[in-house]
């Protein structure tokens, strides 16, 4: 079995050390960075995402595949060309101001990382100012906000309003959480609403035209 296929299988099986070892070996034996990135890491995560969507595998499987993929990615990054870098979109994520419920947010962050995005997790109880500031600092593509409480979901509107006020039109806002809905998303003028972690990934891809 070729080394690229071995890395691919390690990512699918969620074997972090094997995936990292495979990438190291691949790099030292002169395999192209693009070849490892596309044909091993990303295509493996595509299959993992597909299996998860079909209900064949479960959340912990996806998480460990994502970890294996990240381990490989960390080793590849120093070798990235400008072309590679532009490929991974950046996402700022956190829970809404006043909300410390982060199970959903953590799950979304892991799923997005697993899908190959660069995720900056600001944690819980994040102010609108902090979301915007970090998005500017990283030149991010998307701000993703999660809320469990009806009392905190209104701060999502503040983020949208602040972006408008500062004329920062390049940042898209993705929202999610139990009390939210498509209607609320439209009402506050956010760009997309994800019903669960699986859909969050789909919506990010749609927002980025991927």
């Amino acid at each position: 079995m070729g080394i690229v296929k071995e890395i691919y299988n390690s990512v699918i099986a969620g074997k972090v050390e094997d995936a990292a070892g495979g990438v190291e070996q691949g790099l030292s034996s002169g395999i192209e960075v693009d070849e490892i990135l596309n044909n091993a890491l990303i295509s493996a995560m595509d299959l993992v995402g597909q299996r998860f969507a079909e209900g064949e595998i479960f959340i912990p499987h996806v998480i460990w595949s994502a970890k294996a993929m990240q381990a490989g990615m960390d080793l590849l990054k120093p070798h990235f060309s400008a072309n590679n870098k532009s490929k991974s979109a950046k996402i700022i994520i956190g829970t809404a101001q006043g909300d410390i419920h982060d199970i959903g947010k953590n799950l979304v962050a892991m799923m997005l990382e697993g899908a190959g995005f660069e995720v900056f997790d600001l944690g819980v109880d994040v102010t609108p100012e902090r979301f915007v500031e970090k998005a500017v600092e990283e030149n991010a593509n998307i701000i993703a906000i999660s809320a469990l409480l009806t009392t905190t979901m209104m701060s999502m509107a503040d983020v949208v309003a602040m972006l408008k006020e500062k004329a920062l039109f390049s940042f898209k806002v993705l929202i999610g959480g139990a009390p939210l809905s498509e209607e609320f998303c439209e009402e506050i003028g956010a760009d997309a609403y994800g019903v669960d972690a699986r859909e969050a990934v789909t919506k990010v891809r749609e927002l980025l035209d991927l």
Binding site: I59, N106, L107, V195, D196
Partner: protein, 484 residues
């Protein structure tokens, strides 16, 4: 290195304490010795009399305690049932639980039209294929009673259709010794010869005494036929508290157990060590509707009580669960299925029949076999309890993840979630938006979809062509004989 003593908690339930078991047992012995049972079968009466029982009058025989104790002692405590390939598939004994359908439902809720209509031979094929596909259905009853096959032949036809459509053991009824003999002939032809069938039985006859305290000619004839030919037989009364038995549960239980054990005595005197499964059904007569409740809480109490009693006897035990008094699949069905299935599992009865029943034993609705399968799956997970050791107490994991951390990402979660957590295959766990998007399907919709899918795609292990021909010939001969 720390070592853990194996520590696993398991749900367990016992209704009677030891002194209550003995009190009930002594009452049973007293009823048999001082009241006796009526047996409409001369050979059985002679047999009992020659072993020390007293025939007092009018076919009533009083059975002394030692005959009962001897019969309990000579009955095999563990009965292995095979499929027709001679693989052992059920070990009836101890607290081991196995589930299957019942027999003889005259009406069927049509899968397509949802009308309640007469059951037909084709319905036997449908329920057998569905049962064959269900991993938690261990044995197969006819489920329906086909209207399009004439009496005297319908049980033969049911047995034939069941063997043609499943390799699972068959739990079958017979009208009399005559059709039982034809069914046995079919089974012998599948096994090769009668010794091979006795060695690896894949069928269980289901016969009943008649409450109160009566054994009909046909019931005893079937019981003796099974004993002589080593066909496992399930000989169990169905008593109605307040009608065919005392209204009080303790009294009803005593009478029903006396009926079962008097059958056991005849069976063991006929052929010591022959295989038999025993137990009782002691439920209530509904005093307004005059119907038989299959799910009354009183039934569950007598079920738990006789389970304790027959565990004390150390005999293979029959059980009843997964049935409903409702006439149509509805919320009542769900409540009664779940209640009875959990109860039967906790009782540790071995051969648990009637999964998929509706309408107090009158109505079939084949998708409910799939419903019972799902609930049994849930019950089995519950019955597994959980492990309490270092790995499962997970102190190191708690320390590693810490306050505010995320256990979902930890390798401990990855390593244990599959074995610790059960997931439904049909019951909904989708959130509201996803459920709406996927078509707002209730479990009722999904059960019907699943039944149709199974009927389209499931391929039971076929009966070899030669055997199928043998069975066809036996069936044709039986039809000719009946016509004469």
């Amino acid at each position: 290195m720390e070592t853990d003593i194996f520590n696993h908690c398991l749900p367990r339930f016992r209704l009677l304490d030891d002194s209550q078991i003995r009190r009930i047992h002594h009452s049973v012995l007293r009823v048999l010795d001082e009241v006796g049972v009526r047996i409409h079968h001369n050979e059985a009466l002679d047999l009992l009399a020659s072993h020390g029982a007293r025939i007092i009058s009018d076919n009533v025989v009083q059975i002394p305690s030692f005959l009962v104790e001897d019969a309990i002692a000579s009955t095999p405590a563990n009965l292995v049932i095979y499929n027709r390939d001679r693989d052992p598939v059920m070990e009836l004994g101890g607290g081991r639980i196995y589930f299957g359908t019942g027999t003889d439902l005259p009406k069927t809720v049509d899968l397509k039209t949802r009308e309640i209509r007469d059951t037909m031979a084709e319905d036997i094929v449908v329920s057998t294929i569905i049962s064959d596909a269900m991993p938690n259905i261990d044995f197969i009853g006819s489920y329906g009673l086909p209207k399009d096959v004439r009496p005297g032949l319908h049980y033969i036809r049911c047995f034939q259709l069941e063997t043609e459509n499943s390799n699972k053991p068959i739990f079958f009824t017979a009208e009399s010794k005559e059709d039982l003999a034809v069914i046995w002939e079919m089974a012998v032809s599948i096994a090769g010869n009668s010794e091979a069938l006795a060695r690896h039985p894949f069928l269980i006859n289901y016969s009943e005494p008649t409450s109160p305290l009566t054994h009909s000619t046909e019931a005893i004839a079937k019981l003796i036929f099974c004993a002589k030919n080593q066909i496992p037989v399930n000989y169990t009364p169905a008593l109605l508290a307040g009608s065919t038995g005392p209204v009080t549960l303790a009294g009803a239980l005593v009478v029903a157990v006396a009926e079962a054990l008097s059958g056991l005595v005849v069976h063991q005197l006929t052929n010591k060590g022959a295989p038999i499964i025993t137990g009782v059904a002691a439920t209530t007569l509904d005093m307004l509707e005059a119907t038989v409740s299959y799910t009354s809480p009183e039934y569950r109490l007598t079920h738990s009580a006789y389970a304790d009693l027959f565990h004390y006897y150390d005999l293979p035990i029959w059980g009843t669960a997964g049935c409903s008094d409702s006439q149509f699949p509805d919320l009542q069905t769900g409540a009664e299925y779940a209640f009875t299935l959990l109860n039967a599992a906790l009782d540790g009865t071995n051969l648990i029949h009637d999964c998929g029943y509706l309408g107090q034993g009158f109505v079939a609705s084949p998708e409910l076999i799939i419903f019972a399968n799902e609930i049994i799956d849930m019950v089995k997970r519950y019955m597994q309890g959980f492990v309490i050791d270092t790995d499962h107490l997970a102190f190191e994991v708690v320390k590693r993840v810490g306050p505010g951390g995320n256990f979902l990402e930890d390798e401990h979660t990855r390593d244990f979630f599959m074995e610790e957590h059960w997931r439904p295959t049909l019951f909904n766990r989708k959130n509201l938006p996803n459920w709406i998007r996927s078509g707002k399907k209730t479990v009722n919709d999904k059960l019907i979809d699943k039944a149709r899918e199974i009927l389209k795609s499931h391929q039971p292990e076929p009966l070899p062509h030669e055997l199928k021909k043998d069975l066809d010939k036996i069936w044709d001969d039986a039809k000719k004989k009946k016509r004469r």
